[in-house]
Symmetry: C2
Subunit: 114 residues, 2 copies
Amino acid sequence: MADPIATNPELYSVAFENDRVRVLRYRDRPGDRTLPHSHPDSVMITASAFERRLHHGGRSVDVSLPAGEVRWLDAQEHAGENIGDTETVTFFVELKDSAVVRSLSSGDAPLGPS
Amino acid sequence: MADPIATNPELYSVAFENDRVRVLRYRDRPGDRTLPHSHPDSVMITASAFERRLHHGGRSVDVSLPAGEVRWLDAQEHAGENIGDTETVTFFVELKDSAVVRSLSSGDAPLGPS
């Protein structure tokens, strides 16, 4: 599992962390791409509208969301690109409890937020 | 424990819920007050700047935060009022795991976000 803080430190930063959660802040510009990385089960809260294309294992999905949206992200690996014409700012509240491993190992989670 | 969705449904709404988390959206205007209510251990992510006064058991604390701030909120009971001159918009990611009960029963949590 590649931690996005390690793979794209210029885009991801740790906004808060304790023994229960880690909260990432993500910020990019149009055309920016991430390297393949993984997320545990997370809540995503958007601080800007954005349009992204997510890739994993030959699949891709386009995601378009307004600001102020709350979505669940099943644990997954993907790479993303900003395919819109605006900056993306969003938060990921990563859950540290044991269900993270269960969900990631199942391999049938939807790509992107649900 | 008074659920803020029940005590102030005009200010709090459920933005997302599953078996792991419940996410509340809070929105008020200057001068608005909440009735006493409780929060489990939560991550708060602000979508606006705000100034609030929180009350509980004879204590009060003023909280002033910018937009885009991420804070941990120990499980607690309080009532709040918007003492600023701007609308407040913020999210609470409530954690459903067992530590919620442990933390709330300890009674020594700081009032407001830490």
